[in-house]
């Protein structure tokens, strides 16, 4: 199945999964109909609930689901559709109360019933869930704590919502209709158990060890992993994996890093890691032999997904890592398609992997353009930011036939992307890797 078909398949499946259980409620014996607004409110509540259930599947990192889109898209979608789902869920009581303001009584936990109390608990957990996710950094919740909180709130939200459906009970008036909802909600709770207990347990059989942590320029390190036992990881150049270092596979602390090694080797993996946060600052101190677990490969930022006659790679800082993987893979494959690399960094001494790139320039049809923000006096190359003018000076004439891959800090990616749009590069030929997965 090609990717477009596969994409349509999953979107249709999503709509089907969300809407079909709601429409099954119409099969007789159905309760007698009520006014349009009341029924709309009920439908929105049900649609919101099934969407929340699907959220559990989206974040499960099932490769068959994520492959056609790239997992970064799936996570972006998870965040966006969460807002849609929560809005629909909030519209449900809102419409009911507007339809008949006397129903405000149901919102008072003392005068309402257990169905309305369960509903309010569910809405409350959802609101906390959204706020803690949207404002995680401002609330100073660290990532691992937030993940645990998110997990628990998600489970609580679906359990309370299911209790509400079961106790309100109007539409679940036959055992099989009731079963649809109970089974779905229970399945999502089971999925959480699978993801957090069973899958990590299975991961234990696929252990990796740190072979080496090699310091590179620009406070960057190459983390080299080798399998313990007879397994490997086949990946496409440019993809990434979540790494759990030290500790057990059950930990919630894991970090996504791009492969920087050649995709032709599945038994010795390298990751380029720059000191930016708490975890990455410590990476240089990780001793060889340290245990590691991998979840991957993930991601759709790959030259193998988008074959072209030639490429232009644009990297900013540590954004070079997936691009290094492109180049190393092409070198191993003796792939001589023309490549232009724009690489923006601070100064010549902090240009990570520049020696490796110099070697690759000899093996490949590769032209490297370094753009330094604060270069030394005697620097003869490009200075300042990577602007459209810099691109104009170095882009090959047949630039429109090439595919562009951009990876770096968000402002730099936006600027480069806009510069390419202004130069008439078709949107379908520009590929971005956004790093803000968390």
């Amino acid at each position: 199945m090609n990717r477009v078909m596969s994409g349509f398949f999953w979107i249709s499946l999503y709509l089907l999964v969300v809407l079909v259980p709601v429409f099954l409620m119409l099969i007789p014996p159905a309760p007698s109909g009520r006014s349009f607004w009341l029924e709309l409110s009920v439908a929105l509540g049900f649609v919101g609930l099934t969407q929340i259930a699907v959220q559990f599947v989206l974040i499960a990192r099932f490769k068959r689901i994520t492959a056609p889109y790239g997992i970064d898209i799936i996570l972006q979608y998870h965040r966006q559709i969460a807002m849609v789902a929560v809005s629909l869920v909030l519209a449900h009581p809102l419409i009911i109360v507007i339809d008949n303001p006397s129903r405000l009584k149901l919102l008072n936990p003392l005068s309402g019933n257990w169905a309305s109390r369960a509903a309010m608990m569910s809405v409350l957990t959802l609101v906390i869930l959204v706020v803690s996710s949207q404002f995680r950094e401002r609330l100073k919740i660290n990532y691992e704590r937030w993940r645990l909180l998110h997990l628990l709130l998600g489970v609580a939200a679906i359990v309370f919502a299911q209790l509400h459906v079961s106790m309100a009970g109007l539409y679940t008036n036959t055992p099989w209709k009731h079963a649809i909802w109970v089974v779905t909600s229970a399945a999502m709770v089971m999925l959480v158990i699978y993801l957090r207990v069973l899958r990590p347990a299975w991961q234990r059989n696929y252990r990796w060890r740190v072979a080496e942590v090699r310091p590179e320029r620009g406070s960057t390190h190459s983390l080299v992993l080798e399998p313990v036992g007879d397994h490997g990881m086949r990946f496409d150049p440019g993809q990434f994996a979540w790494i759990k270092l030290e500790g057990s596979p059950f930990t919630l602390e894991e970090h996504p890093f791009s492969f920087s090694s050649s995709a032709e080797r599945s038994d010795r993996l390298e990751f380029g890691i720059k000191s930016l946060g708490d975890f990455t600052r410590r990476i240089g101190d990780v001793p060889p032999g340290t245990r590691a677990y991998l979840d991957g490969p993930h991601g759709a930022f790959s030259i193998d997904r988008y074959p072209a006659v030639g490429y232009v790679f644009i990297a900013g800082g540590v954004g070079i890592t997936p691009i290094l993987s492109f180049l190393r893979t092409m070198a191993d494959r003796k792939d001589h398609r023309p490549i232009t690399l724009f690489y923006a960094d601070n100064d010549w001494d902090s240009v990570a992997f520049r020696e490796a790139l110099a070697e690759l320039e000899e093996k490949l049809d590769l032209h490297c353009v370094y753009v330094l923000k604060e270069p030394a006096e005697d620097w003869k190359g490009e200075r300042g930011f990577l602007t459209g003018e810099v691109l104009d000076r170095h882009l090959p004439k047949e630039k429109l036939a090439r595919f562009f891959f951009i990876c770096g800090p968000p402002p730099m990616m936006t600027a480069a992307h806009e510069a390419l749009q202004e130069r008439g590069v078709p949107e379908a030929r520009v590929h971005l890797e956004k790093f803000n997965l968390a």
Binding site: L15, V22, F23, L40, V42, L88, N113
Partner: protein, 184 residues
């Protein structure tokens, strides 16, 4: 490119979900056909009043409008009262009017968590018929010799809008007392 397509997909999905919900709501509310079809009801309009044929329309109206909350046997559930006490209220002084008022304007009381919505949108024929249906079912027996409702009784009480709390004050035997709360 992927990100742009993904955004479009999100909006499309959101729109289709809301559309789907609206379709669901329309299909459900369209079941209230009888209530809106005055033409169908016209043939039940009593020409001499005593010839009011309410049984069929009463049963149907109960199923469409009341059964959801009051139950198929008028037993009620959770925050919705049972209807076994209706004949007693009907017999009490002012009860005859009270039952009509609470249907026309709805009812909110401290006795029950869920309010009774207004049924004033139903035609007189249907309201009279459904009241008669309740008064002769679910263990209710109208007092001997009492005249059941005819559409003109409903029409006579259609007046300025009352609040559901005002209706509660009309309840025979006091508005606060929790009589009739026999089924929960």
């Amino acid at each position: 490119m992927r990100h742009l397509v993904a955004n479009i997909a999100t909006y499309t999905i959101a729109a289709l979900l809301i559309l789907g919900s609206a379709l669901f709501a329309w299909m459900r509310s369209a079941q209230l056909v009888l209530s809106n079809e005055y033409a169908t009801l016209a043939r039940y309009e009593p020409t001499p009043e005593h010839a009011f044929e309410w049984r069929e329309v009463g049963e149907h109206a109960y199923a469409s409008n009341c059964r959801n909350c009051h139950g198929s046997e008028g037993q009620g559930w959770d925050q919705y009262p049972g209807l076994q006490d209706t004949a007693r209220l009907f017999a009490a002084p002012g009860g005859r009017e009270y039952l009509v008022e609470l249907n026309l304007h709805g009812l909110t009381s401290p006795r029950w968590g869920a309010p009774m919505p207004s049924m004033g949108h139903l035609p007189d024929v249907e309201l009279a018929a459904v009241l008669n249906h309740v008064l002769t079912h679910f263990g209710n027996t109208p007092p001997t010799g009492a005249r059941l409702y005819v559409p003109a009784d409903i029409a006579a009480l259609r007046g300025p809008k009352r609040s559901p709390w005002e209706v509660n004050a009309l309840r025979p035997g006091g508005a606060e007392e929790a009589s009739g709360r026999t089924v929960n």
